[in-house]
């Protein structure tokens, strides 16, 4: 083989050179353009609506960032909090969610969420199988429709993945898959349409939601609460200690989620513009201050500030600012940070124990409560001077109405879906499987071999 290498390489180079020589046309000098012609060309370029390369580039980047939030961000965040014997099950559930959401989105989900000619609850079916979804702009004036579609897909992936948090360590893999599939159709697609696609919560109830406080955090949060209650507590909850097996993984996941959230919030501006810049700034302050606030709250009320506390605070702040990021000022975002760190802290540290439900990874406490808080604060602090989409008055009432609709819908839909899933495959694994750990029993793997 070796002695053929030199002649092979030389032959390859010769072919390339011949090809290049062949491809060159003899250059013919063109006639110079008049000033009028050049001006006309320039005016056409400047006035054309169509793809803006900066916007496309930012939306491409944002999509990648949001996917990074799911894998590995959320997987690490949750994975660290569960016990060692269940760490892989979290990854399995999120990987599977990504696949299911992708297929559903391509087939009909994107259309049901964003296509025109629908009704108050669902969009039309004209974009099924990504028909017409190509490089030209569509929903957004300056962004390729296929990029917009994938950007929104990354949201459709992370939202059901959040629910995994409430049922961690005690739901059958098959049940998770079936639940998520139906949940996408009964909750996510309708809400994406109702809030962002011109449906009920945008037209009849005039609520606003910049990046998904309603669509992502409240839906998943309230659904998580219901599912956690229906599933029941983990074996040993309240009696045995069930501490996180690796706060290192959780804290790492938190950092990834924070960075990814820039794609989530600033990307929801749909353009690389000043609004995206506003969202970028408000997101930063809300996250940083909420993290510190939760840590301090723990220090005061529980004795020591923990890294899990800082991590939880950062996430809570990010959740709270999500519906508001491109609508409120930086000054207001600091209030979002303080309240986003405090109120979910009390929900997790006191409300959960008082009500006695096992929200294993605090999806309701952080996303449900944090999302609700964010939606209401948006009603208070959204400023039409920051973003022209903000109405001059009356927003708070509309936001509260939207919260009520979201809570009721999510709760009822989840109860119905859980009932169906229980009939078809059952919800909980057997006691032996739960004690052995889902990784070994359901996935045939161990996260660590010591």
């Amino acid at each position: 083989m070796k002695k053929f290498l030199k002649p092979l390489l030389l032959g390859f180079l010769a072919v390339i050179c011949a090809g290049v020589a062949f491809a060159q046309d003899a250059a013919t000098p063109a006639a110079p353009l008049t000033v009028e012609q050049r001006l006309a060309e320039l005016e056409t370029k400047v006035n054309a609506t169509g793809i803006d390369k900066g916007d496309n580039a930012w939306m491409l980047t944002s999509s990648a960032l949001v996917l990074f939030m799911s894998l590995p961000g959320l997987a690490l965040f949750y994975g660290g909090i569960v016990r060692k014997k269940n760490v892989l099950s979290v990854f399995a559930q999120i990987f599977a969610t990504a696949g299911i959401a992708a297929i559903a989105w391509w087939a009909i989900g994107f259309s049901l969420a964003f296509a025109p000619d629908g009704n108050a609850i669902f969009g039309g079916t004209g974009w099924a199988f990504f028909k017409g979804v190509g490089g030209d702009p569509g929903t957004l004036a300056t962004v390729s429709q296929n990029i917009f579609a994938i950007f929104q897909l990354t949201f459709a992936i992370i939202t059901p993945a959040l629910i995994v948090g409430a049922i961690a360590e005690r739901m059958k893999f098959s049940a998770v898959l079936l639940f998520i599939t139906i949940w996408l159709f009964l909750v996510y697609f309708p809400f994406a349409h109702m809030v962002w696609g011109g449906g009920y919560l945008a037209t009849t109830i005039k609520a606003i939601d910049f990046a998904g406080g309603t669509v992502v955090h409240m839906t998943s949060g309230y659904s998580a609460l219901v599912l956690a209650i229906l599933l029941g507590k983990r074996i040993g909850y309240g009696k045995e200690p069930l501490p996180p097996h690796s706060v290192v993984l959780t804290a790492t996941g938190t950092g990834i989620l924070w960075v990814g959230w820039y794609g989530f919030n600033a990307g929801s501006a749909g353009a690389a513009d000043g609004i995206a810049g506003n969202a970028f700034a408000t997101t930063t302050f809300a996250a940083a201050i909420a993290g510190l606030t939760w840590g301090f709250a723990e220090w005061i009320f529980k004795g020591k500030p923990s890294v899990l506390g800082f991590s939880s605070g950062v996430i809570a702040g990010l959740v709270a600012i999500t519906p508001a990021a491109g609508f409120v000022s930086v000054g207001s975002s600091i209030i979002f940070g303080v309240l986003g760190g405090l109120i979910p802290f009390f929900a997790v540290a006191y409300l959960k124990n008082w009500l006695g439900y096992d929200d294993a990874l605090d999806t309701f406490g952080v996303h449900g409560v944090g999302g609700t808080l964010g939606a209401i604060l948006t009603g208070v602090f959204a400023d039409p001077k920051i973003n022209s989409l903000v109405p001059e008055s009356g927003l708070l009432v509309e936001q509260i109405k939207a919260v009520v609709v979201t809570a009721i819908w999510s709760v009822v839909a989840t109860a119905v879906i859980a009932f169906i899933v229980k009939l078809v495959v059952g919800l909980r694994p057997t006691e032996e499987v739960e004690r052995e750990g889902l990784d070994l029993a359901e996935h045939g793997e161990e996260g660590y071999h010591s």
Binding site: P241, P243, P244, E298, K302, G303, K304, S306, L308, G309, S312, F345, V348, A349, Y350, K352, N353, D362
Partner: protein, 112 residues
Amino acid sequence: MKKIEAIVKPFKLEEVKDALHEVGIEGMTVSEVKGFGRQKGHTEIYRGSEYTVDFLPKIKVEVVVADSKASEVAAAIVKAAKTGKIGDGKIFISGIEEAIRIRTEEKGDSAV
């Protein structure tokens, strides 16, 4: 021959090992164990839920010695491992019926 099992605080391992060398003991087996006697555990807090962790990490050192050396070795371990504070650990001495050095197949005192 006697087996001496000493359960000591983890940070005392180096001192115990050096003390054993000084009385002529070259070999030992060490394991990481958990346990408690009268020493209380500690509290950990995760997101507002408090857990009392009863089991404390300890190190178990096992050596097998000739009968005549047993009390000397035990005394050396006590001196090295003692801090005077609760949780210092315990030593158990038991009889060993036979010992074999695998490489040379020696038995008895010359095997330990």
